[in-house]
Amino acid sequence: MHIFLFLLFGAFCVGGAVNLLIQRKTINSALSLIVVMGSLALIYLLLGAEFVAVVQVIIYAGAIMVLYVFVIMLLNAGEEEPSKGSSVAKIFGIPGLFAGGIIGAWVLLQHGPEKSDIPIGALYGPANAVGMMLFTKYLLAFEVTSILVLIAIMGAVVLARRSNS
């Protein structure tokens, strides 16, 4: 059952990622990216990371993608202009991509970590344990991140403001 779920949502991930590449309209790419992020959240749940799965849905599939879709609608981003793709890139690039992928997959599957099976079903990342670690061991990083987010908010406001000169 778990393997079936992993394969199903892995296939959704792969399909969404490929669809993001082949779509010409920006809004279709954004929607397929939402598919990728939602399926990744379910894969995180399969891995037992419930906190990360919920945060993935709320922050990535929720907040960030809403921002993207909002900007796409605001700027009327339509179809991408077709470019004259170089034939050399097509002749050498696509077989090279496949060869590289096959070599990488072979190396990973042959020389992967020893005893590398992941037991599934157990919840490793309960929210209270993650929160405890976040506010004790990684407290400094957490506070620095809050400053980063504050600076990002101010930067976004300053950059997107219409200059009144």
Binding site: H2, I3, F6, G10, C13, V14, L20, L21, A30, L33, V36, M37, L40, I43, L47, G48, A49, F51, V52, V55, Q56, I59, Y60, I64, L67, Y68, V71, I72, L74, L75, A77, E80, L97, G104, A105, L108, L109, G112, P113, S116, D117, I118, P119, I120, Y124, A129, V130, M133, L134, K137, Y138, T145, L148, V149, I151, A152, G155, A156, L159, A160
Partner: protein
């Protein structure tokens, strides 16, 4: 019942490779940003897979920080895209090749 960690790593590598490919072949600046998000998602999957394999929670914390940085990056980056569109009237990165108008 177990799933080999290599499968998760392969999926993660595929997502990252798709992100790199999209960053290289796409011309719409918003799609380039979405490719960066795809790369970050691929890395996050590796973090979670290794964290589950090692039985620690540190990977979850790192993923949380990656998400926060990605949110900040998206906010600032999309603001920059809006500013670029106001001055250049285009979203094609091939036409945005001068630092100064």
């Amino acid at each position: 019942m177990t799933i080999p960690i290599s499968w998760y790593l392969l999926l993660s590598a595929f997502l990252f490779a798709c992100g790199v490919t999209g960053f290289l072949i796409k011309r719409n600046i918003i799609t380039l940003f979405m490719s960066i998000e795809l790369m970050l998602n691929g890395v996050n999957l590796s973090f979670i897979a290794f964290a589950t394999r090692l039985g620690t929670l540190d990977g979850h914390i790192f993923v949380f920080f990656v998400m926060v940085v990605a949110a900040a990056e998206a906010a600032v980056g999309l603001a920059i895209i809006i500013a670029v569109y106001r001055t250049r009237e285009t979203l094609n990165v091939d036409r945005v090749n001068l630092l100064k108008l």
